[in-house]
């Protein structure tokens, strides 16, 4: 379980996090969503123990990161958005070097390296310099290193950025696999739809403050899709459309929010009332609209 408790952090006069608190339970994937610069990565760096907070603490399976960093770090894995390694190392050497910090002998570490790196399709890169790896390979290597002791908690920080579709699918499925293994997974992104389908809940952050923590079904309920219509008789159509949901005029179009019937039934009803439908489209930005509405309501 990952607990972020009243964490605050400033860089100079710039307050980056302000009393940030949330929890990721075991067997749960929590999306951590906020705009770029909202404070997601800073929260995560504090959670994995690489940045000391000004106030508050991160608790990993009941162990304080600030007080018992080594023990806490044994229980959490981290794949950063842009993993940065010491570039003069070879892949295998850096793996062995880091395995040394886990107290693993050279022989065991070599076996482990082969197993993990081959599993993550880095078997051919053992003798490559870390500097020569692509972004995707670096993320997979960071994952391999984080899997050295198979920790019960995992944090993916904007991990889907810059990945090809195959890579995106890989990490999404991995998060689900970890969840099924009972691990607590924090999955950060600046795009809400990236965590859609995998997250059980979403923690929203904006300008260093938590805007809210919502279960995924709550978000789905609030952020329902809309149908955008262009018709020849606007006033008459509003009368017809109120039967199917809340309709509002947007310029020359009408938006039917959270429609209660299918698009075909709605169009049929309009035609039966002598209203011609000139244009129709499904609005898919429900999640993002929800997110921006949160920012608008709570962030500014």
């Amino acid at each position: 379980m990952i607990e972020i408790k009243n964490v605050s952090k400033s860089f100079g006069n710039h307050k980056v996090l302000e009393d940030v608190s949330f929890t990721v339970e075991n067997g749960e994937i929590a999306g951590y969503v906020g705009l770029n610069g909202a404070g997601k990565t800073t929260t995560i760096r504090i959670a994995v123990g690489v940045l000391p907070p000004d106030n508050g603490d991160a608790i990993i399976d009941g162990i304080s990161v600030t007080k018992e960093k080594k023990r806490a770090s044994e229980r959490i894995g981290w794949v950063p958005e842009l993993p940065i390694f010491e570039t003069d190392f070879k892949v295998i050497d850096y793996f062995l070097y880091i395995a040394g910090y886990y107290g693993i002998s050279v022989d065991s570490a070599k076996r482990l390296a082969k197993e993990k790196l081959e599993m993550l399709e880095l078997g051919n890169a053992l003798n490559m310099k870390l500097a020569a790896l692509s972004q995707g390979m670096k993320k997979r290597f960071a994952l391999a290193v984080s899997l050295i002791n198979d920790p019960p908690n995992f944090i993916f920080d904007e991990v889907l950025n810059g990945l090809d579709p195959q890579g995106i699918v890989f990490f999404r499925e991995l998060a689900l696999k970890f969840k099924s293994q009972g691990k607590a997974v924090l999955f950060s992104s600046h795009i809400l739809s990236e965590v859609q389908g995998i997250a059980d809940k979403v923690v929203f952050i904006h300008k260093g403050k938590i805007l809210g923590v919502y279960k995924m079904n709550e978000i789905a309920d609030i952020a329902k899709p809309a149908i955008i219509l262009k018709v020849d008789k606007v006033n008459e159509s509003l009368y017809v459309l109120k039967e199917f949901g809340k309709a509002e005029v947007r310029g020359e179009s009408i938006a039917l929010l959270d429609p209660s019937a299918s698009t075909g039934e709605i169009v049929k009803a309009l035609l039966e009332h002598g209203i011609n439908v000139l244009e129709l489209k499904q609005e898919e930005k429900g999640l993002e609209e929800f997110f921006f509405r949160l920012i608008k309501d709570g962030g500014n």
């Binding site: 940045l51 023990r71 940065i84 062995l96 070097y97 910090y101």
Partner: protein, 520 residues
């Protein structure tokens, strides 16, 4: 693999460190040669030679022996020239010595014996020049030997004996002393050296057979004792054989004051009881220890090992960059710190790795230098002085490393490099210039300056991490009596200064690193 060992391995085996070390080892070997070059003009060697030609058949024997200034057998390259000396010519002129035949050889462990045959043409020239009737009075056959070694060179004319029928004739000058028997066929040359209470006699002998014994009398004048009683009072030295014979006497064991003696007189007794007696041979007083002092003084001086402590800080500066400043500047330490490891672990492990690299590099360089010195000269730096100079170099390098390491915790990448290079230049050059200016301003010029300036300089070394090595040179200089005492140099303060220079930056660096933002 332990991360500390890994950090050490990659800091020590990185190309910059290895190449620099190799370069310094090569420089060290070069320094050994510089030491020998300097020695060849500052200390002397002792060469001994004795040659004999049998004029009836041209048989030539030559015995050679050489000692260094410490009376240790000397490895040397030797050239012998058999020729005609013109005693009336200027000794430096070309016609002072006309070479008829020459030999070259390497004398290992001091001694070399040569056997050869002189051809008719050379023999006839030799015979005509030594003839009392045909030759001009200023022309004599002679042997010239030129010796070159890592510990000095020599070029001199030595004794040549010639056998003509049953009779021996010998040609001056002789190196020391010879035994001649007009009726027998034994001849030799002897040298006597006195080092403190030890009298060493070296005899190059050509004996007609075995069973000879050697005796000597120690004299306080050039007068040789006369009569049978005098012969009975000689000291038995040992058996005498053809070739090199070395005898040592401890004068204090014999209750003889070394200050009062001046000559020795020697006898060789044959198996038939016949005694061959020598001339009075002057004793050469030798002061050993100077050679070792010279070697150490040159080695640890400004043109010697100090070069390492002057330039190796550049590598040290780079090690701190590679271990902390560079990964910190890139943001690469964060990924490492997400492992079960504390900041202190990273901080102290990498400091230790760099410190170990400095220690091993200094040790490798010093040992390589000492080994090359040993190989070339047969002498190394004494163990105690080696330890002192090692500690001096190490503390100096570690102090500078600590300062650089502290900087690396707050500055990343190029900013670190710029500032650390500036610091290096400051401590190696600018700082010293400031001290010179300060000294001149405070004490003016002339003698008054030189005494006070030395004190000021040594005070300044306490406040300069790279300057700490100068104290090691000072302590060695004092021990060799090559340096004046300087009142401001206190061994305890030197140790405190070194500890503070190393420890304070580590502590300050840690306080900065503990809370530092390690992201790019």
């Amino acid at each position: 693999m332990k991360p500390l060992f890994y950090d050490f391995k990659r800091s020590f085996l990185r190309p910059a460190t290895v190449l620099s070390l190799v370069a310094f080892i090569v420089i060290g070997v070069g320094l050994s040669y510089i030491v020998t070059t300097t020695l060849s003009t500052s200390v002397r060697i002792y060469t001994e030679g004795f040659g004999k030609i049998d004029l009836s058949n041209g048989n030539f024997i030559f015995y050679f022996n050489a000692y260094d200034a410490n009376l240790k057998p000397l490895n040397s390259n030797v050239a012998i020239y058999l020729g005609i000396m013109n005693t009336s010519a200027n000794s430096l002129s070309a016609d002072a010595f006309q070479t008829l035949k020459s030999w070259t050889f390497k004398a290992t462990n001091g001694f070399y014996a040569l056997n050869d045959t002189i051809n008719e043409s050379v023999l006839s020239q030799i015979m005509s020049s030594q003839s009392t009737t045909n030759a001009p009075s200023n022309m004599f056959p002679g042997l010239r030997i030129q010796v070159s070694s890592s510990l000095g060179v020599s070029d001199e004319i030595i004794g040549l004996a010639m056998k003509e029928g049953d009779r021996y004739a010998y040609i001056t000058p002789f190196g020391g002393f010879s035994i001649i028997d007009q009726s027998g066929n034994m001849i030799g040359d002897v040298w006597a050296y006195l080092n403190k209470d030890e009298l060493m006699l070296t005899a190059l002998l050509d004996l007609p057979g075995n069973g000879f014994t050697f005796r000597c009398a120690i004299l306080n004048s050039t007068l040789i004792p006369q009569g049978a009683e005098a012969l009975n009072n000689t000291i038995y030295l040992g058996e005498a054989n053809s070739g090199l014979n070395v005898y040592k006497l401890n004068l204090s064991d014999m209750n003889i004051s070394s200050s009062s003696i001046s000559n020795v007189y020697l006898t060789v007794e044959g198996p038939d009881g016949k005694i061959y007696s020598s001339f009075s041979l002057p004793i050469e007083r030798v002061s050993t220890g100077r050679l070792q002092g010279e070697i150490e003084s040159i080695s640890t001086g400004s043109a010697g090992l100090a070069l390492f402590s002057l330039f190796f800080p550049i590598v040290v500066l780079y090690i701190a960059y590679a271990l902390i400043a560079k990964p910190k500047g890139m943001g690469a330490l964060e990924f490492l710190l997400a492992r079960p490891i504390s900041r202190w672990d990273v901080y102290i492990s990498r400091f230790t790795a760099g410190a170990l690299t400095t220690l091993v590099s200094s040790a490798v360089f010093l040992l390589a230098f000492d080994a090359s010195l040993m190989l070339i000269t047969g002498y190394g730096i004494s163990a105690s002085h080696l330890v002192i100079i090692f500690l001096g170099i190490l503390s100096s390098l570690l102090a500078f490393y600590s300062v650089c390491y502290m900087l690396s915790t707050v500055l990343g990448g190029s900013k670190y490099l710029s500032l650390s290079i500036l610091l290096y230049l400051f401590f190696t050059m600018i700082y010293n210039i400031i001290i010179v200016i300060l000294g001149t301003e405070l004490y003016g010029t002339g003698m008054y300056l030189s005494n006070n300036f030395a004190r000021l300089q040594y005070i300044s070394y306490y406040f300069n991490p790279i300057g700490l090595v100068n104290f090691a040179s000072y302590f060695i200089g004092r021990s060799l009596n090559t340096m004046q005492e300087i009142s401001v140099v206190n061994p305890y303060l030197v140790v405190v200064s070194a500890i503070l220079w190393i420890a304070l930056p580590i502590v300050i660096g840690w306080l900065l690193f503990r809370k530092a933002n390690l992201s790019r």
